[in-house]
């Protein structure tokens, strides 16, 4: 276990270096000369040449790559072209909103998913089970942006219950109120997934030998379910939470754009449209780091809760 974790941790280093390499090479891959894009059409050749010198575009690429890595390690992500502010500050400003949204979405998905799965397993093979299974199937195959759009149409436009735009002014309660729609939209897909996972894991556990033994002792059914079975059946669900957080970070892009909330995803989309190269790089870097970290947690928790994986 310990060796596995060390190996997995070491694996993070080449991954991050590769991510940095792709982001670094964006300068050369994006259409158009970066200096021209930054300075606009009225710049003289001399100005462009000065800027190229300053950005390090005249150096050989590996020198540029190493100085890029050095800058990133120092927390210097460059200056946003359109906002004229350090990229680091711009990204850190919106990051909390994305994290709050992601964790709220994941929390809802876990709670609702486990509830649906337990109910379905408890009423196995009745019409109620079939109904819940169908619900989880439909929600699991609903894209985040469809869920967002339908929530706005139903709850904001028709029923006028939830706000459809922005963060909400002042006060924690109001912010939470504005978070309901986006968080539910983000959670929909994983609710269905976790529901199906819980149902099958619970059914598998209830059939396993140790539960059969408990039954033969004559312990009450509910006692067995909540005292023994749940403890074991919940492990695969905990193991996928890390994976889910990584996935939801991607889904948050749609939610942020559709509900017009500030956040990392929307920042990246906006900066791509504005051709703001430093901001694209910085935003994608932070998103990728979060994703790498979430995957790391996912793998370690998987190995912890499902020891078979270690052999691989």
């Amino acid at each position: 276990m310990f060796i596995y974790i060390i190996k997995r941790l070491l694996w993070v280093i080449p991954t991050i270096l590769a991510v940095l390499f792709l982001l670094f090479s964006l300068t050369y891959l994006l259409p158009g000369d970066p200096a021209d894009i930054i300075l606009g059409p009225r710049a003289t050749d001399e100005m462009a040449e000065n800027l190229r010198e300053r950005l390090g575009l005249n150096r050989p690429w590996y020198q540029g790559y190493f100085s890029y890595i050095r800058d990133v390690m120092r927390g210097d992500l460059g200056v946003s072209v359109f906002r004229s502010r350090p990229v680091f500050n711009v990204v850190m400003e919106v990051l909390p909103y994305t994290l709050a949204l992601t964790f709220a979405g994941m929390g809802l998905a876990v709670i609702n998913g486990i509830l649906i799965g337990l109910l379905a397993a408890n009423y196995q093979n009745t019409w109620f089970d079939k109904f819940l299974t169908l619900i989880s199937f439909i929600t699991a195959s609903t894209p985040t942006y469809i869920a967002s759009v339908l929530i706005i149409v139903i709850f904001s436009v028709n029923l006028n219950l939830l706000p459809s735009i922005g963060l909400g002014e002042g006060g924690l309660l109001n912010s939470l109120y504005y978070l309901i729609g986006p968080a539910v939209a983000l959670s929909i897909g994983w609710t269905g997934y976790i529901g199906r996972l819980t149902r099958s894991s619970m059914l598998e556990t209830l059939e396993s030998d140790f539960i059969q033994t408990e039954k033969s002792f004559g312990l009450p059914r509910n006692y067995i379910i909540y005292k023994y079975a749940l403890k074991k059946a919940i492990k695969p669900i905990i193991a996928v939470i890390g994976l889910g957080v990584g996935r939801l970070l991607g889904g948050a892009v749609f939610v942020e754009v559709i509900f017009t909330r500030p956040g990392l995803g929307r920042l990246i989309v906006d900066s791509i449209f504005e051709r703001d190269l430093p901001l694209v790089r910085g935003g994608v870097l932070v998103a990728a780091l979060l994703f790498v970290f979430a995957n790391l947690l996912a793998d370690i928790s998987y190995a912890y809760f499902d020891p078979r994986i270690k052999q691989e």
Binding site: T15, P143, V253, I272
Partner: protein, 293 residues
């Protein structure tokens, strides 16, 4: 004799799968939806009541009527006709993207398993590299590099899913390679190509089929999502994502307009995942013909 026996077993396996699927409602619901999408993609000009691009500004943002069963959009185009025509880019993306990822996944996975050593390590690193990015963000960055269009969406979606197939192909090839019958075929002098074609392919076929069904759905989903963000297919092309994007501006005044493409995407996803699920259950050797559900 060796070969005919394997062929016999393969045929038996297929008839078993079909037998299980025949009794699963998911096969029919999913199959009907997928068929409907393919039919509307192929026969769009005959099925659509109007030209999906002809505008009629006087009758813009109309509700459902006899002439326009689902109403008209912001420039008076018939929504039903646009929905039907939009099945085409969806199918292009699903089939095109899947072909790219299966093709390169096969090549890379087989090379990794067969050549081993440093090449195996390199290919695995490439897969991990692609998977290191949040999927949507990698797609966005790549689209920013080569610019949004139907072709670039197909290529990029195909590339991002290569690792899934590559890993499956590599893992199954590695385990098949150790099997006795492959060893004996090799000792009889069968070439690598023959071993792969005759023995490895039939075995990875099942996993690729199930993954493929689900990935076709997710590629249609990504295409619509990207077009919605304005980074995929571009208006005035008829695509469900473009329709979402166009009607999003009118979500407060004409909310019904955005519901139609949303439903089309949801149904598509549901159809493909139902069919893939029934296929997965049937292909699972643990499923007996008696307990089908």
């Amino acid at each position: 004799m060796f070969n005919s026996q394997r062929l016999f077993r393969f045929k038996k396996k297929i008839s078993r799968v079909i037998n299980i699927m025949k009794h699963d409602y998911r096969t029919y619901v999913g199959g009907v939806i997928i068929l409907a999408i393919f039919i509307s993609a192929i026969f769009a000009p005959w099925l659509a009541p109007h030209n999906p691009y002809s505008t009629d500004v006087v009758n813009r943002l109309q509700g459902p009527s006899l002439n326009n069963p689902l109403g008209t959009d912001s420039v008076g185009r018939d929504i039903l006709s646009r929905l039907i025509y939009a099945a085409r880019p969806a199918i292009y993306v699903a089939v095109g993207g899947l072909s790219i990822s299966v093709f390169f996944g096969l090549i890379l996975g087989l090379s990794a398993a067969y050549l081993g050593g440093i090449i195996d390590k390199l290919i695995l690193f490439l897969f991990d590299f692609i998977r290191a990015f949040p999927p949507l963000i990698l797609i966005l960055v790549l689209l920013a590099i080569i610019g949004p269009s139907l072709i670039s969406v197909i290529i990029i979606l195909g590339i991002t899913i290569i690792p899934r197939y590559g890993r499956v192909v590599r893992a199954e090839t590695l385990s098949e390679k150790e099997e006795d019958y492959v060893e004996s075929a090799r000792s009889l002098g069968a070439s690598n190509f023959r071993v792969v074609y005759k023995h490895i392919f039939p075995n990875i076929f099942a996993s690729v089929l199930v993954l493929g069904g689900m990935d076709m759905a997710s590629m249609i989903m990504w295409e619509a999502g990207l077009s919605f963000l304005g980074l995929g297919l571009q208006p005035p092309l008829s695509s469900w994502g473009v329709m979402l994007q166009e009607s999003y501006q009118y979500i407060q005044t004409a909310p019904l307009m955005i519901v139609w493409p949303a439903l089309a995407i949801m149904l598509t996803m549901l159809g493909f995942s139902l069919f893939a699920e029934s296929l997965r259950v049937a292909l699972n050797p643990k499923t007996s013909q008696e307990d089908r559900y």
